[in-house]
């Protein structure tokens, strides 16, 4: 429910360092374009927005075409994750009176041809302002998370590089303005391109994840140069944008939650869209990010920093696997993902870290409890967490004997749900022992949870930025050169 005190209606002008971003698109239009990217088979194959057959048509042509076949769109059917036919019709109706958006031409639709995870994107053209709009779709399939988490250990990722290669293959010289946008993984690609290619004028990343510490250090000078062009549109309770370090200005927006997907729905591209009585859409600025997400963001950052580079890939795969199973809302699948032999060591690291973190920052538990229950998970998981936290030494000693643990739990009048949960998931005991062993070696306050800023990794002299990484290399080679000189002269 919207409350007047919680929000202010947005204005259409956004600034970077006091200078308005020069795109002719409003935030609402950017959000609508990103919703269109997900349209698939609305009333038939012509209802797929990112189809090569739509090239050289306008957004208006597409909307008219979809509404022409509106009777074939099933209201209750989900046409993309979390978005039903009825919701897509609302989106189409809200575009219909917007002549500016309707006149935008779909110049080129691209299907990724090199990168294994697929992906679609489009080059759009706004003739009213001679503006090129390059838009990247997130994939929404489980496979999306493979790339989302690969940003933890790859700099840059294959998806990012391929998006840049395609972007640079486009002939953009004749446009006055170049704008890039995308939702989720598409938002991350848009930010990456803006950092790497100075020609981009504006970037609107919608719920896109950030970049690793290694990335920020490696590209600090490029980031400093281009970060003012990046505007992050973020749903207040979105959980993808919190991954890794943000780049650019952030604005949070109030989210709607229709309840079908529970917490997962906060990441849907229409989560921040509101309609008035006549179907006109708007988005509403939120005063701040959801506190749960702030807490999770900080914990994840400090956890990732605690992992050695050599094991980051394994941890990333575990995280992705857990998130994909968490999406499903199935407690058994989630437990399996944690206990799976391939993930067990990394899961133990994450859980041990979370438990130690919980001792230092107990508010985390409430955040996790709310997220789990909103997603339909059994919160008995948290009962187990509490037990391990309180009896970690005991668990390390007797955890391999599940029956004994269960007897002790009963003697201590532990919650019946926790006991039933553990009985059902005996595979958790090995994991719990591993967690208990790791717990005492972890100092959760050792690593900062704050986002790393490019400015922190570079030295700025007279507007010129030099990354500390480059300086380290220069100093290293200077020392080597001095040693060689001394050796030769000596």
């Amino acid at each position: 429910m919207l409350q007047e005190t919680d929000c202010i209606q947005i204005t259409f002008c956004y600034e970077r360092n006091g200078v308005p971003m020069n795109s002719n698109l409003s935030i609402e239009e950017i959000v609508l374009i990103n919703n269109l990217l997900y349209c698939e088979n609305l009333g038939g194959p012509r209802g797929t927005f990112l189809s090569i057959s739509h090239e050289n048509r306008t957004i208006g042509d597409y909307v008219d075409c979809v509404l022409h076949y509106a009777s074939k769109i099933e209201n209750d059917k989900e046409y993309s994750t979390g978005v039903t036919g009825a919701e897509y019709k609302q989106i189409m109706w809200s575009i219909r009176p917007n002549q500016h958006l309707k006149d935008i031409i779909i110049l080129q639709v691209h299907y990724e041809s090199e990168c294994a995870g697929g992906g679609r994107s489009a080059l759009l053209f706004d003739p009213s302002s001679n503006e090129a709009i390059v838009a990247f779709k997130g994939t929404q399939s489980d496979a999306e998370w493979i790339d989302n988490v690969s940003g933890l250990y790859m700099v840059p990722t294959e998806f990012q590089n391929n998006a840049l290669t395609w972007f640079q293959s486009l002939d953009l010289d004749s446009y006055d303005t170049i704008t890039v946008t995308g939702h989720s993984k598409g938002g991350n690609k848009a930010k990456f391109i803006t950092i790497m290619d100075d020609r981009v004028d504006n970037c609107y990343s919608f719920d896109g994840q950030g970049f690793s510490d290694e990335f920020i250090r490696k590209y600090s000078t490029q980031i400093i140069k281009n970060q003012d062009k990046i505007f992050n549109i973020i749903a207040q309770s979105d959980f993808v944008n919190i991954l890794l370090n943000d780049v650019g200005k952030k604005q949070f927006y109030l989210g709607t939650n229709y309840g079908r997907l529970g917490f997962a729905e906060n990441h849907c591209a229409n989560a921040i869209v509101f309609y008035d009585d006549i179907g006109e859409m708007s988005v509403w600025e939120a005063p701040a990010q959801d506190k749960k997400m702030v807490a999770l963001d900080k914990m994840l950052n400090s956890f990732i920093r605690s992992i050695r580079m050599s094991t980051k890939e394994k941890v990333a795969n575990m995280l992705g696997s857990v998130i994909v199973n968490a999406y499903s809302g199935d407690t058994d699948k989630l437990v399996y993902a944690f206990a799976d032999a391939r993930n067990a060591d990394s899961s133990a690291k994450l859980i041990a870290y979370t438990l130690r973190y919980k001792i230092e920052k107990p508010e985390m538990v409430e955040s996790v409890r709310e997220i789990l229950s909103q997603n339909g998970f059994s919160t008995s998981l948290l009962g187990v967490i509490n037990f391990v936290t309180n009896y970690d030494l005991l668990m390390e000693l007797i955890g391999k004997k599940p029956e004994m643990v269960l007897s002790i739990l009963k003697m201590n009048h532990a919650n019946e749900n926790t006991i039933t949960f553990l009985k059902k998931h005996m595979e958790l005991f090995d994991l719990v022992v591993s967690v208990s062993k790791k717990m005492r070696k972890i100092n959760p306050l050792r690593f900062s949870g704050d986002d790393l800023k490019a400015e922190d990794t570079a030295i700025i002299i007279n507007r010129f930025a030099i990354s500390k990484r480059t300086i380290s290399f220069i100093v290293f080679f200077l020392i080597i050169a001095v040693i060689i000189c001394i050796f030769i002269l000596g």
Partner: protein, 176 residues
């Protein structure tokens, strides 16, 4: 299990099990995906024997609302930035596979025929774009009759865009 480098690359793009894929020690879910990928590749080679294909990616149905997976592929004989797409849907007997590559095979003869018709009627098109909405399955091969598709005798979801120089059109003929 023996996997080619290309197969490993595609699987790595859609599965978290990097080490197991490298060793060829696939889990049941990845084995299913590999089997599906091989069937799509086999289907393409069998349907279009004059062409060579490489599957480059996949958007699996898992985690989406789709009932089919989309397989992205390149053709050795055609230079194109964008991938082609095939859809595979699980059936009782395996997979029902359909693809959009047929459009590449018949679009040039259709474009030429449209150009001929237009010129015969006094129109000189600036450009003609030929595309199709439908994905066709194994009931058609690479000898699909372009003329029958053009005339609508074979339903392929024809979508032809004809670009004319409007300065040469009279007011009457510009009315649609």
């Amino acid at each position: 299990m023996e996997l080619t480098t290309a197969e490993k690359k595609v699987l790595n793009g859609i599965s978290f099990h990097t080490d197991e894929i490298e060793k060829g020690d696939l889990c049941p879910e990845d084995t299913v995906l590999l089997n599906e990928m091989r069937q799509v590749e086999h289907y393409l080679q069998e349907k279009y024997p004059s062409y060579t294909f490489e599957i480059t990616g996949c958007e699996p149905k898992s985690g989406t609302t789709r009932t089919y997976s989309e397989w992205y592929f390149k053709c050795g004989e055609i230079e194109r930035d964008s991938a082609f797409i095939a859809m595979s849907e699980e059936t009782e007997n395996g997979y029902a596979i359909r693809d959009a590559f047929f459009g590449q095979v018949i679009k040039e003869p259709i474009r030429q025929e449209l150009e001929r018709i237009l010129q015969t009627n006094g129109f000189s098109p600036i450009n003609i774009e030929v595309s199709f909405w439908d994905y066709l399955g194994k009931e058609f091969d690479e000898h699909l009759d372009a003329n029958k598709v053009l005339k609508g005798e074979l339903e392929a979801g024809n979508d032809f865009k004809i670009f004319l120089d409007d300065s040469k059109l009279t007011e009457k003929t510009t009315n649609r």
